[in-house]
């Protein structure tokens, strides 16, 4: 009997893992089919956002706590690793984990008061805290305020995670990042914590009646989500070579981190990657073609696309593929 019980759920999780490996191999081979440098850059950015949005999804999708302030954790990761490198000469390979750790701690601290709030108030509180942090950073001389920090380049180096001429290394860096966060989400889905977090998302009173502590569950999800976001921020800083509050802490970034998961399928393993694969190219191309100076037409196109997707597929893009369609169709009842 026990064997039969294990059947479907275990098989489904194994299938997801195999699919993950196949997708990883395909994405690893992708640059060899794409010669165009602009397109390659687009793919790098898409992979970064797939990882970032998966990080957001750990808190927003699995635990149901919608954060509109994830740029804060992204910025903490970017600034921590950059400052450690420029001021102390510590490699970003280590710095990104320091940044991740600090970002995770920040997410925990933000959660301490904010998870006392329920429902939409958490989203609003994170939005306000994120905007406040961006303002403070823009006036904080220790981190060069609004001028930002340029990361000095001492030649191509894996040890310093620095590449200016070749884009291929960053393809694999971002792919490794996206794959790592995907794997973390996969592990969470099958773990005690993952079950508790989803219970918290679906019904707080029922979760409590089964012995699930709500507040610590939310804090743990926030810390892991924040840490994963912070690592992405550090990688972004190395990729671009320059950070300032505008590019690492702005509210629009918080939205950009959340959107792929929401459009792709919130609380699903594949939603963030699918969402990023659609949204990031469209966003970048609409800026390139229509120009960000032209009165925000690019944003209108972008907004129209999101509305069209939301109307056509309220359960997210994953429902096209019938991957865990049952899970996608949730939480709105």
């Amino acid at each position: 009997m026990a064997g039969a019980v294990r059947g479907t759920l275990v098989a489904r999780r194994r299938r997801e893992l195999w699919l993950g490996i196949v997708v990883l191999v395909v994405l690893a081979a992708l640059p060899f089919g794409v010669g165009n440098a602009y397109l390659r850059g687009l793919i790098v950015l898409t992979l970064l956002y797939a990882g970032l949005s998966q990080a957001w999804n750990i808190l927003g999708g699995y635990c149901g706590q919608i954060s509109l302030g994830h740029a804060l954790y992204f910025g903490i990761g970017a600034y921590t690793s950059t400052l450690l490198f420029t001021r102390l000469g510590i490699s970003p390979l280590l710095g990104m984990f320091a940044g991740g750790g600090l970002a995770g701690f920040a997410a925990f601290l933000v959660g301490l008061p904010c998870f006392r709030l329920s429902g939409h108030y958490y989203a609003i509180a994170t939005l306000v805290i994120g905007m406040m942090a961006a303002l403070l950073a823009a006036n904080w001389d220790f981190i060069n305020a609004a001028q930002g920090i340029t990361i000095p380049f001492h030649g191509e180096s894996w040890a310093n995670l620095a590449f200016r001429t070749a884009i291929l290394p960053f393809h694999y860096v971002m792919l490794a990042y996206a794959a790592l966060i995907w794997f973390v989400a996969w592990l969470i889905e099958g773990s005690r914590w993952g079950f508790f977090w989803r219970a918290v998302k679906d019904d707080v009173a029922a979760a409590r009646s089964l012995g699930v502590s709500i507040y610590p569950s939310k804090l743990a999800a926030a810390a892991i989500s924040g840490a994963a976001t912070g690592i992405g921020g550090a990688l972004y800083a190395q990729y671009i070579g320059f950070i300032d509050p505008d590019s690492t802490l702005d509210l629009s970034l918080s939205v950009l981190i959340a959107l792929p998961a929401v459009v792709g399928g919130i609380g699903t393993l594949w939603g963030p990657l699918l969402g990023a694969a659609v949204l990031i190219p469209v966003q970048q191309l609409s800026v390139a073609w229509l120009g960000s100076a032209a009165g925000g037409i690019d944003l209108m196109v972008y907004g129209a696309l999101i509305m069209a997707l939301a109307l056509a597929r309220p359960e997210g893009l994953v429902s096209f593929f019938h991957i865990r369609a049952s899970r996608g169709a949730t939480g709105h009842g």
Partner: protein, 242 residues
């Protein structure tokens, strides 16, 4: 009957100026099925939620398995071995039946293989095996009630609180539900059932506590309860608005 599993003394609870419970006291022996009955507004739900830890009483004591539990909270109550269902069914709708029950099993299990095995047992016990891998939101209302019971049983409770589990069921479904309750008791689990429809409950329970207007009217065996003039008055009064 030895040391009771649950002992309630002097429980009072007010919501604003409304006294939901006034000085309630009774005891439940291990292995007993106790009915908590009374017309609408009698204070059953309030008392039920106080025992489950979901709300704290203003005054009074609750001893469960030798421990004082009044006001310790629902999570602590679940850990000590009090399981419950809800009057309005609360399923985790983004999960399958198996995953719903696994949440409960994870209270005692660290590893997911152990939680899955426990959940499988309970699902079979509750007659939901054929529905194991369907999303919880696609279950029929009686199936959802069974799911709630399975989820609570997965936590290995010593005391199970059932909130109007027979209400709204067809006679056939109610019969099946009553069989399930007897099977649960046969496993050594003590049960408190809240119902406001007295008739369905009487053949099932060992003893009843009758509440009316926030106070305990009386307690006793089902046969004594139905004959009692105050019970008849309370129910008829409620029904006919007298």
């Amino acid at each position: 009957m030895g040391e009771p599993l649950l002992e309630i003394r002097g429980i009072s609870k007010s919501f604003g100026s409304v006294a939901a419970n006034v000085d309630i006291g009774f005891a439940v022996a291990a292995g007993e099925i106790l009915g908590l009955i009374g017309p609408n507004g009698a204070g059953k739900s309030s008392l039920f939620n106080i025992i489950a830890g979901e709300i704290a009483p203003d005054r009074g004591e609750i001893r469960f398995a030798g421990q004082e539990i009044a006001g310790i909270g629902a999570v602590a109550c679940a850990r000590l071995g009090i399981g419950r269902t809800f009057q309005v069914v609360r399923s985790f709708d983004s999960m399958t039946v198996l995953e719903n029950v696994m949440v409960g099993a994870f209270l005692r299990a660290r590893r997911s293989a152990a939680a899955m095995a426990r959940a499988g047992e309970v699902i079979e016990f509750c007659g939901l095996t054929t529905r194991r891998d369907v999303p919880a939101h696609s279950l029929s209302p009686p199936e959802k009630r069974r799911l709630e019971i399975a989820r609570a049983l997965a936590t290995r409770p010593r005391l199970l609180l059932l909130d109007e589990m027979l209400t709204g069921l067809t006679p056939t479904e109610a019969q099946a539900g009553m069989r399930l309750v007897r099977d649960i008791r046969a496993q050594g689990i003590t049960i408190i059932m809240v119902e406001h429809v007295m008739e369905v409950l009487l053949p099932l329970i060992d003893r009843a506590v009758v509440l009316n207007l926030g106070r305990k009217l009386l307690e006793g065996a089902p046969a004594e309860i139905v004959r009692h003039p105050e019970v008849i008055r309370a129910y008829l009064g409620d029904r006919y608005g007298g």
